[in-house]
C-alpha cells in the first residue's frame, strides 16, 4: 500500500479506535455528541464522492438519508437491525442509480437545482403516501440503545472516510477529478463519463441511506418532513465547503466546527445558529473557496 494512502487510513483507523472508548469514559451526553459527529462525518464524506470529486454538486442528498429512514421505519421489527441497515443502503443506492441516469446528463448549476427539486419531490411523495395510509408519524419501539447506535454510526463514519480516502488516490478518483476539471476533455482521452458519474453517485448514496436508518432509530420516530428536510442537505454542503471539499480530510474540520456551534446554540437560539451557518457559508465561498482545510494547506505550503 502506498505511503500517502496508508498513513491517512492508519490515522483514521486509530482515531476511530480511540473514539470507540468514548462510551466507557463519559456520559450519555458526550456519547450523543459523538453520535452526531459521526453522523455528519459519514454524510459529508459520502457526499464528497459526487460533489467534491466529480464536481456534480448535490443539494438533495437528504433524499438518500430520508429513504433509508423510511425503509427502516417500514421494516421495523420485521427484520433484524443489520438487515435493515443493508436494505436502507441498498434502497438509497438503487434510488441513486434510477435518478442518476437521466439527471447526471444535466450539468453545472442545473444539476444542483435538479437534485434539490428531486429531494423535495420525494419528500412530498412520501408525505402523500403516508397520508394515503392514514399514518401521521411512525414510532419505532425497542430501538437499540445509544451505545450500540454510537458504535454503528462510528463504523459508518470510519467506512465513509476510508472510502473517500481510497477513491481519492485511486485510478477511479483520478478519472472523477478529470471529469470535474473538464468533462469533454476527459471523454476525449478515454474516460466514459456517464459510467463514472453514475458509479460515484450511487456510491455516494449508500452510506447516507444507512445513516438515515440509524438516525430514525435514535429518535425512535419517523416523520417525512423531518427525515427529508432540506436543512440536512444545506448543512452537509456547508460543513463540507467550510472545511474544504477538495480533500477527504477537509470536511472533518467543518463538521467539528458546526457541531460544536450547534451544541452551544441550538437549545436556546436555533435561529442564531442558522444565521451564523449562513454567514460562514457566504464567507467561505467568497473569501476562502477551498475551505479552512485548503486555506491551512496553502498557509503551510507558503511558510515551508
Amino acid at each position: 500500500m502506498r505511503l500517502d494512502l496508508g498513513v491517512p487510513l492508519g490515522g483514521v483507523t486509530l482515531a476511530t479506535i480511540a473514539a470507540a472508548v468514548l462510551p466507557f469514559v463519559s456520559n450519555d451526553y458526550i456519547v450523543g455528541i459523538g453520535f452526531t459527529l459521526s453522523t455528519w462525518i459519514a454524510l459529508t464524506e459520502a457526499w464528497l464522492l459526487i460533489s467534491g470529486m466529480a464536481g456534480y454538486v448535490s443539494l438533495g442528498h437528504v433524499a438518500f438519508v430520508g429513504i433509508g429512514a423510511y425503509v427502516a421505519a417500514l421494516s421495523w421489527q420485521l427484520l433484524p437491525v443489520w438487515l435493515i441497515l443493508l436494505a436502507a443502503g441498498a434502497a438509497a443506492g438503487t434510488l441513486a442509480l434510477l435518478v442518476g441516469y437521466p439527471c447526471l446528463r444535466v450539468r453545472g448549476p442545473y444539476f444542483v437545482i435538479l437534485t434539490f427539486g428531486l429531494s423535495e419531490l420525494l419528500k412530498f411523495i412520501v408525505v402523500n403516501i403516508e397520508a394515503a395510509l392514514s399514518v401521521s408519524g411512525r414510532v419505532l419501539f425497542g430501538a437499540p440503545d445509544l451505545h450500540d447506535l454510537f458504535y454503528m454510526m462510528l463504523s459508518l463514519a470510519w467506512a465513509s472516510l476510508c472510502v473517500a480516502l481510497i477513491i481519492r488516490r485511486s485510478r477511479f478518483g483520478a478519472g472523477l477529478r478529470a471529469i470535474r476539471e473538464n468533462e469533454e476533455a476527459a471523454e476525449t482521452i478515454g474516460i466514459a463519463a456517464p459510467w463514472f458519474k453514475l458509479t460515484a453517485f450511487a456510491l455516494s448514496a449508500i452510506i447516507p441511506g444507512m445513516v438515515g436508518a440509524l438516525i430514525t432509530m435514535r429518535t425512535s420516530y419517523f416523520d417525512p418532513l423531518d427525515s427529508f428536510s432540506p436543512r440536512t442537505s444545506l448543512l452537509i454542503i456547508t460543513m463540507a465547503v467550510i472545511g474544504g471539499s477538495d480533500k477527504p480530510l477537509g470536511p472533518l474540520l467543518g463538521v467539528g466546527f458546526l457541531v460544536l456551534l450547534q451544541e452551544l446554540l441550538w437549545a436556546n437560539l436555533p435561529q442564531l445558529y442558522m444565521i451564523i451557518v449562513g454567514l460562514l457559508l457566504i464567507a467561505v465561498v467568497v473569501w476562502v473557496p477551498d475551505g479552512i482545510f485548503g486555506g491551512l494547506q496553502r498557509l503551510l505550503a507558503r511558510s515551508a
Binding site: R171, A185, T188, I189, A192
Partner: protein, 243 residues
C-alpha cells in the same frame, strides 16, 4: 493503407450547413493538413471524427471500422487522439497528473497509478515538459499548455493524432520548435497526424497532403505544391487569381 476515411459528411447547425458532403482520406503514416478560412468547418470536422458531434449524414471509417456516432471515449480507445483549438487542460491538476490520466485511460488502460506516472514522465521528457511536471496546468504559458495538450493526447497511445491549430498564438521561434517537435513525434512514434493549421509554412514543411475547406465544402485536395498553385484555392484566399 488508408487509416482514416471521411465519406460524404454533412453537418448542419440550425440552418447553417457547416460541412457539406466532405470526403477525403488519410494514409497510415502520413502527415495530412486541413486548411481553410475561419468558419470553413475545420473544427466541426474534427469534432465529428472524434465523436464529440454526430454527422447528419456520411460516414467516418477508421482502420476499417465505422466510427461516426460513437461516443468520444470509444473513439479514443479506437486509437484517435485530438487536441482542442482552445486548449482544455485539467487546470487545477499538475502537468504530470494531466498526462498520467492519458496513460490511465488511453489505449493502454494502465491499472497501476505508479506505472502510469512513470510512463507519463517519459512522455514529458519527450515533449520537453519534464521540468514542469509539478506545475499546476493552469499556470503554464499558452505554448506550455498546447504542449501539455499534445502530451496528454500522446499518452493515450493513438494511431491518429489530430492537432487543432496548435501553432496559433505562438511566437515564430516557438513555431519553429513546434514544427520540429511534430516532425520528431511523427518519426519516433509511428504516428499518423492530421493537423488543422493557418500557419502556412508549417503546412508546407510538414504535410504530405493538404485538404482545403471553404464554406463547408472541400475545395481542393493535393500535395502542398499543388495546393498553392490551385486557382480555386488562391482565389478563395486572395479574392482573385494571381497570375
Amino acid at each position: 493503407m488508408t487509416l482514416l476515411n471521411v465519406d460524404g459528411v454533412i453537418r448542419r447547425f440550425r440552418g447553417i450547413v457547416a460541412l457539406d458532403d466532405v470526403s477525403f482520406s488519410v494514409e497510415e503514416g502520413q502527415i495530412a493538413g486541413i486548411m481553410g478560412a475561419n468558419g470553413a468547418g475545420k473544427t466541426t470536422l474534427f469534432s465529428i471524427i472524434a465523436g464529440n458531434l454526430r454527422p447528419n449524414a456520411g460516414r467516418i471509417i477508421f482502420a476499417g471500422r465505422r466510427i461516426d456516432g460513437l461516443r468520444p471515449e470509444k473513439v479514443s480507445r479506437g486509437g484517435i487522439a485530438r487536441t482542442f483549438q482552445i486548449v482544455r487542460p485539467f487546470g487545477n491538476m499538475t502537468v504530470l497528473e494531466n498526462v498520467t490520466l492519458g496513460v490511465l485511460y488511453g489505449r493502454r488502460r494502465e491499472r497501476s497509478m505508479a506505472a502510469a506516472e512513470a510512463r507519463a514522465r517519459e512522455i514529458l521528457e519527450q515533449m520537453g515538459l519534464a521540468h514542469r511536471a509539478q506545475h499546476v496546468a493552469s499556470q503554464l504559458t499558452l505554448a506550455g499548455r498546447k504542449r501539455l495538450e499534445i502530451a496528454r493526447g500522446l499518452a493515450t497511445e493513438p494511431r491518429l493524432l489530430m492537432l487543432d491549430e496548435v501553432l496559433a498564438g505562438l511566437t515564430p521561434a516557438e513555431i519553429t520548435g513546434a514544427i520540429d517537435l511534430i516532425r520528431t513525434l511523427h518519426r519516433q512514434g509511428n504516428l499518423t497526424i492530421l493537423m488543422i493549421e493557418h500557419v502556412t509554412r508549417a503546412l508546407m514543411a510538414l504535410c504530405q497532403r493538404i485538404v482545403v475547406l471553404h464554406h463547408g465544402k472541400k475545395l481542393f485536395e493535393g500535395s502542398p505544391e499543388d495546393v498553392v498553385r490551385d486557382p480555386k484555392t488562391v482565389s478563395a484566399y486572395l479574392g482573385a487569381t494571381v497570375s
